[in-house]
């Protein structure tokens, strides 16, 4: 289970609403490389992950991603507070507004709703950890793109924090992959899945 802490991992304090920025940043809430997909991916991959270090890593990073989901939701919420009808129409926010008003809905910036098709749980330690490494890089690029498109320092401050966490998580998953490959001996270098082929214990006599 989880226990909620009534604070953000990093404070968000946006003073100026900006519907244009909100429409872009919502992608990190429910888009293909967003925080919802990140947390679901890691928290779901844990069950079939062998080795306690990796189970711990997926639990902890998956939990932190839920905190990031809350931060992105907060950014979008604060960017869309007190908008006038005129601003909603002028910024193009009307297409989101008609379905969700200023509620926070998990969708990509393109309008495509959150889809689990943008993530995978393969049940294989090598496949899943490589997916996780790629996911961190894709999220990092999305934050880079947001920083290219948004110039409010209050927004950029929080986005830069989230970007930096992708880099740290990438590093940790790299170490996790190293731990996993170190446990595969020369008879099982990618030959079978230690999450599934139980009893083999990395010295399988499979031909």
């Amino acid at each position: 289970m989880w226990s909620y802490q009534k604070l953000l991992q990093y404070p968000v304090n946006i003073k100026t609403p900006n519907a244009k920025a909100a429409q872009i940043i919502i992608s990190q809430y429910g888009g293909p490389d967003g925080e919802l997909g990140a947390s679901l991916r890691y928290l779901s991959q844990r069950f079939s992950m062998p080795y306690p270090e990796l189970q711990g890593l997926l639990t902890d990073i998956g939990t932190e991603e839920l905190g990031h989901l809350e931060m992105v939701g907060t950014i979008v919420y604060q960017l869309t507070r007190g908008l006038s009808e005129e601003e909603i129409k002028r910024s193009g926010f009307d297409k989101y507004f008609v379905d969700h008003t200023t509620g926070i809905y998990p969708t990509a910036a393109s309008g495509f709703p959150y889809s689990a098709c943008s993530m995978q749980v393969k049940g294989d330690v090598i496949a899943d950890l490589n997916e996780d490494l790629a996911a961190e890089q894709k999220a990092r690029v999305t934050y880079d793109n947001i920083l290219r498109l948004v110039d409010d320092p209050d927004v950029c401050d929080a986005i830069k924090f989230l970007r930096a966490r992708e880099v740290v998580h990438y590093q940790r998953f790299g170490e996790g992959l190293r731990i996993a490959t170190d446990k595969l001996n020369e008879k099982n270098f990618y030959a079978f899945n230690p999450s599934f082929d139980t009893g083999c214990n990395c010295s399988c006599n499979r031909k």
Binding site: V12, D157, H169
Partner: protein, 82 residues
């Protein structure tokens, strides 16, 4: 994080603890970092106690129900930072 509010100080200390915790997932034998994490944990706990007494609860389980719902929610910055 540029200002030096109690919330920022506590968040910073908690962040140090968390980041070292992640590091220790893949480096469980690094005693130097484990000790440093413990040091920051003490600081974070001290700041959290101060925060709770001035600004309201952090955890649902360690306060009365009225304080839990009446203190500001993290996404709401309209009531000012603590």
């Amino acid at each position: 994080m540029t200002n030096n509010t109690l919330l920022c100080q506590m968040s910073e200390a908690l962040f140090h603890v968390w980041d070292m915790h992640l590091y220790l997932d893949t480096h469980p034998d690094d005693e130097k970092i484990a000790q440093l994490a413990e040091k920051y944990m003490c600081l974070a706990q001290k700041l959290a106690e101060e925060y709770v007494s001035h600004c309201g609860p952090i955890n649902a389980m360690d306060c009365d129900a009225a304080a839990w719902i009446n203190s500001p929610w993290p996404w709401d910055n309209s009531r000012g930072n603590c």
